[in-house]
């Protein structure tokens, strides 16, 4: 498979002097066309920053990021992003949100009547793919959190982006809704075939969705380990209980704990307990 995104020795420094923080240091990674890569790691490991750099929303201070062998220059419609929340336009209905990119100049250039028709058809198709047909004319604030994220995903897909970037998109959803969304996004990935980079703090989610899980470590933000997920391409919820899945989950969780730089101080806990009992 050909390389879609090539991250080469990327570094990112925030601030200067005493406030200088090295958010990313020498990060290199190739993501193949149509691959599904998830990023996990302790807080401060720079996983969101890396995603935002690929999206062009943040600039890197060292190295190169290439998409289709082209250096990225700021955000673009070829790399759509789905955020955790607050990204839908509350003044537009669900349908209008999904069609938003059609209102932009980029979406209007050299448009024939047939294109407009096709776009309308695509919006309808996305609506039904996401199970939103009944909610087409609703406003976002009439929808549950899970439904709102479906709209956000449909809206991002509308412009047929080659890369879909997702920054903890299901982080605010409850566990049941999240499971439904997992199978939905896998379905979307099979159908639309975007290259998918997905940041999460949920290791189970990371394994279940991905071809590869990239574990990042903080201070400075860097890639620590890359895990190939030993599961068949077609995922099913039952796979979460297989020994392969569980042992990989255990391994990744342990590694995140090791790299986080935070340890539970048993001595301190005992001391607190002691004080509690004497008072």
């Amino acid at each position: 498979m050909s390389t879609k995104i090539s991250i080469q020795h990327v570094g990112k420094v925030f601030g200067e002097g005493r406030h200088r923080v090295e958010a990313l240091k020498d990060v290199s990674l190739d993501i193949a066309d149509n691959e599904f890569v998830t990023f996990v790691g302790a807080s401060g490991c720079g996983k969101s920053t890396l995603l935002r750099i690929i999206g062009g929303l943040e600039y890197h201070t060292a190295g190169d990021v290439l998409v289709d062998d082209q250096a990225i220059m700021g955000p673009g419609a070829d790399r759509a992003m789905v955020f955790q929340h607050y990204s839908l336009y509350p003044w537009l209905t669900v349908m209008e949100n999904i069609k938003f990119s059609r209102r932009l100049r980029h979406g209007r250039e050299n448009l024939s009547a047939a294109d407009v028709e096709a776009a309308s058809g695509r919006a309808d198709a996305l609506l039904s793919l996401m199970g939103l047909t009944a909610a087409a004319d609703a406003w976002p604030n009439q929808l549950s959190g899970g439904m709102q994220q479906r709209v956000a995903i449909a809206r991002a897909l509308m412009g047929r982006p080659q890369v879909l970037l997702m920054d903890e998109p299901f982080g605010a959803l409850d566990a049941q809704t999240r499971e439904v969304m997992h199978d939905l996004i896998l379905h979307v990935h099979r159908l639309e075939k975007p290259t998918l980079a997905f940041v999460t703090h949920d290791v189970e989610e990371a394994i279940y969705l991905a071809d590869r899980v990239v574990l990042m470590a903080p201070r400075p933000g860097r890639i620590d380990t890359i895990y190939e997920v030993p599961l068949p391409a077609e995922r099913e919820q039952d796979m979460k209980h297989t020994p392969e899945f569980l042992s990989l989950k255990k391994e990744i969780l342990a590694r995140i704990r090791e790299t986080s730089g935070m340890k539970t101080d048993q001595g301190m806990l005992d001391q607190l307990n002691l004080q509690g009992s004497t008072v």
């Binding site: 929303l57 955020f83 003044w91 938003f100 932009l104 980029h106 604030n141 970037l165």
Partner: protein
């Protein structure tokens, strides 16, 4: 013997912290809040010890309202005052809006304009009267200018804050869908800030009215503020009362009109849950 006390917690009463209040109770209390002061006013003013010049009663004030309307052309006083306030307010809004969009969107514009605006807004509008007379003259435009000075600088700062509060995710989502700079401003930032901007207009409209009396200090010969000032000279306390109450009522009506416009323009914010 008494019945056994219930073991279930009872429905919280209206005096529980943040307790419930039914619609009927609400209007009952609201009526109480309006009628008690009115009754007190009536009671105190009808006492023999109180001079009418010092405190006219509700009946005197109502009679004055009627004579002002029938003999002294109340409607033209109200008309000219409403004209001055709304004109000053509209000019202020038309200039403030684009400036606020720029301040809230581009940091250099913010750096240039915000400290300056912050500085000017603390200057008392009354103190500008001599300058306004010198520069603008004593025509209608001078009164409008005072209203403008009183509202504009506050308005810019509040509107800029409204613009800044647009969630970054909404802006960035547009950028990753290919929105250009101008499209992001007009299709996202402005649209997202609209409800807050209308609220700011509603609040600043109230402030514009508070500058009416000040504005009509400048060589006016009509208007509610002017009438209040003139009544002061002739110790027509009842007329002062009428003027103040009318300004309050007009303000209340305008406020309600803004709220109505808000409900009509932004229905998704007023859904019944």
């Amino acid at each position: 013997m008494q019945s056994r006390p219930s073991t279930r917690p009872r429905r919280p009463g209206m005096w529980a912290i943040r307790g419930p209040l039914s619609r009927r109770q609400y209007w009952l209390f609201a009526a109480l809040g309006l009628l008690v002061p009115l009754g007190l006013w009536w009671g105190v003013s009808s006492g023999a010890a109180v001079d009418k010049v010092f405190l006219p009663g509700p009946v005197d004030v109502f009679n004055r309202l009627v004579t002002w309307f029938t003999e002294d052309d109340l409607m033209s006083d109200m008309g000219i005052s409403i004209y001055r306030v709304t004109t000053g307010f509209l000019i202020s809004a038309v200039i403030a809006l684009p400036l606020a969009l720029m301040i809230g969107t581009f940091r250099p514009v913010q750096a240039v304009l915000e400290p300056l605006t912050d500085f000017i807004r603390y200057m008392p509008a009354v103190a500008f009267i001599p300058l306004v007379m010198l520069w603008v003259g004593i025509e209608e435009s001078s009164k409008i200018s005072i209203i403008f000075i009183g509202t504009f600088f506050q308005m810019v700062l509040m509107m800029a804050e409204d613009v800044r509060r647009v969630p970054l995710a909404q802006i960035e989502a547009a950028q990753t869908m290919g929105a250009q700079k101008g499209e992001t401003i007009s299709l996202v930032i402005f649209q997202a800030a609209k409800p807050a901007l209308l609220d700011t207009l509603r609040v600043t409209m109230g402030w514009a009215w508070t500058y009416l009396v000040v504005a009509e200090l400048v060589a006016a010969n009509s208007g509610l503020g002017y009438s209040i000032l003139k009544a002061q000279r002739f110790l027509q306390t009842d007329k002062i009362f009428v003027g103040i109450i009318l300004i309050g009522l007009i303000g209340l009506v305008m406020d309600q009109l803004f709220r109505l416009a808000h409900r009509k323009a932004f229905p998704w914010l007023h859904l019944r849950s």
